[in-house]
């Protein structure tokens, strides 16, 4: 009898003991179990919210883009080739910016008219030497088609006061560094730079270290952090994860997922506070306005998040995101 039972025992140790022939016979002929099985199958009819599916897909796309930029996915890809082209372009930009910087230096260029941009992060020389490059040259050379975005307000949805946001150009560092850095906000005909958002690469008079790197004041760091935080939040509201990804360090990925997952239908955002925590690290408190639909109707809620950011002369990058306590 023991041997007979072992036939039904199977290779695995089954929880609750082995199943003998009697149990099998009972189950096969039991209409109650059959009805129960039908009911269980009906549980699987739960509809998957399309919005959840879309948000998840957006996150996956952003992650693919990040992996692609880091070169972690295989070589047989179109975007990778495109990206490598961007890196090459970025290298050219650095060299050209350095050249223009030298020309400007010896030519006595008027830096007061300089509106920034032109450098790419990573080399440590771009931001400084791009000081005399013209705005047009800079904006043209550093444009990255897929990731360049102009943070624009959604009519009627953004928080009052957040009407002018500087253009944020996301660039990648030169090949080999594997990091992402932000170029400074650039003034264009359609955007105005807030007075408090002096950019990371704007070199104020007398603020250059002996190594030639720009030394940012606290006000400059916080202004740059605020600009990037506003731009990132806009991209969250506008459901543009690809654009957002360019502002995130890898360490911020999980927090970004939490942020996006926490919001159902965000329609506005604002920066509540900016504070320097330690050296180049800055913490920005951001508030999102969200609409949550339940069976009782639609409720408007606010959710707050902290962006931990690292700001240096190459720009600002979000290194962590986590939920802040409610007001």
């Amino acid at each position: 009898m023991t041997g007979f039972r072992n036939i039904f025992r199977g290779p695995e140790s089954l929880e609750g003991g082995f199943v003998d022939a009697a149990v099998l016979d009972e189950a096969l002929g039991d209409p109650v179990l059959a009805a129960l099985a039908d009911e269980l199958a009906a549980l699987g009819d739960v509809q998957v919210p399309a919005s959840a599916r879309q948000r998840g897909l957006a996150l996956v796309r952003a992650e693919v883009e990040l992996q692609d930029r880091r070169g972690l996915l295989g070589p047989a890809r179109g975007t990778g080739l495109l990206f490598r082209g961007r890196l090459a372009l970025g290298s050219v930009v650095v060299v050209l910016a350095a050249f223009l910087g030298l020309v400007g230096l010896y030519g006595g260029g008027d830096t007061s008219q300089w509106t920034g941009s032109g450098g790419t992060g990573g080399s440590g020389t771009g931001p400084v030497t791009s000081g005399t490059s013209s705005p047009d040259t800079g904006s043209t050379l550093t444009s990255v088609p897929d990731s360049d975005t102009t943070a624009t307000s959604v009519p009627g949805t953004t928080v009052p006061g957040a009407t002018s946001i500087p253009t944020i150009t996301a660039t990648t560092s030169v090949a080999g560094t594997g990091t992402t850095a932000m170029s400074p906000p650039s003034t264009t005909a359609t955007t105005t730079r807030p007075s408090s958002s002096t950019t990371a690469t704007s070199r104020p008079a007398g603020s250059t270290s002996t190594t030639g790197r720009a030394v940012l004041t606290r006000e400059q760091r916080e202004g740059s952090a605020r600009s990037v935080a506003m731009s990132l939040s806009e991209k969250v509201v506008l459901n543009d994860p690809e654009g957002a990804a360019a502002m995130l360090a890898g360490s911020a990925g999980a927090g970004f997922v939490q942020l996006v997952s926490s919001l159902e239908a965000p329609y506005g955002n604002s920066v509540i506070s900016v504070a320097t925590t330690d050296g180049p690290n800055t913490r920005v408190l951001v508030e999102f306005l969200d609409r949550v639909t339940t069976v009782q109707g639609t409720n408007e809620t606010t959710l707050r998040f902290y962006y931990e950011m690292r700001v240096d002369d190459s720009g600002a990058v979000v290194t962590a995101i986590y939920k802040a306590p409610a007001r």
Partner: protein, 230 residues
């Protein structure tokens, strides 16, 4: 996204409907609750397996369209599994997102071994669910199946909808009381309608063991629910 090394569009056209709970085409068969125990043991469809293999290879090479095809194939199944494990639609979405982010991050290390992609995703999902439930605060959350019940399609009879919601809540509660091995089989086999072969491959058990766990799980559920409730 472009320059696909494989004709992914063509591959995708042979795939399952995007909205279906079951990610594999009918060739594998979704059996009735018990009749499969008496019929022959189904095996993984070679065509489906080959399609998945090609998708995974393309995805590993960085083809975004292949990655999205994998996402579309399996999102609903993973979401529903997470929903019945972690307790709320919001948490299920969170877990599901983490599963597919894990898939993308794990692609460079993934080695095709002939098992369904769902088996890999299920492994990631189990870890994510465990991490989620480890948080005691979250662990106290329970699925309000009345809420889940309202996600089920329009019910022409509101009164019947209330009853159905209560019944789903009762069933979900009973599911949580099952031993883990039985619960996982019941979830995959009965709720998510995976075939016997898919369930076996996903759980890394033999088909015979899955069949026995399925039957025992149903019997345990019957005992938990009691004769009056059936």
């Amino acid at each position: 996204m472009t320059d696909s090394p494989l004709p992914i569009d063509e591959i995708s056209d042979t795939g399952p409907p995007q909205s279906g709970a079951v990610s594999l085409p009918p060739a594998t068969g979704v059996p009735g609750p018990l009749e499969q125990a008496t019929e022959g043991i189904p095996h993984l469809d070679p065509a489906v397996t080959e399609r998945e293999r090609r998708l995974v290879e393309a995805a590993r090479s960085g083809d975004a369209s292949a990655i999205e095809a994998l996402y579309r194939d399996h999102y609903n199944t993973i979401y529903r599994y997470a929903l019945y494990r972690v307790g709320s639609p919001q948490a299920a979405e969170d877990v599901s997102s983490q599963v597919f982010l894990g898939m993308v991050r794990g692609l460079p290390r993934f080695r095709w071994q002939g098992k369904p992609v769902l088996a890999w995703l299920y492994g990631i999902a189990q870890k994510q669910v465990a991490m989620y439930l480890r948080d005691s605060k979250r662990g106290r959350e329970h699925l309000q199946l009345e809420q889940a019940g309202q996600l089920v399609g329009d019910d022409p009879d509101p009164g019947a909808g209330v009853d159905a919601g209560a019944r789903r809540s009762q069933l979900a509660g009973a599911l949580r009381m099952l031993p883990e091995s039985q619960r996982e089989v019941i979830l995959l086999r009965q709720v998510l309608s995976l075939s016997l072969a898919e369930t076996a491959a996903t759980l890394d058990r033999s088909e015979g063991a899955v069949k026995q766990l399925q039957l025992r799980g149903l019997a345990t559920l019957r005992d938990i629910l009691g004769p009056q409730s059936l």
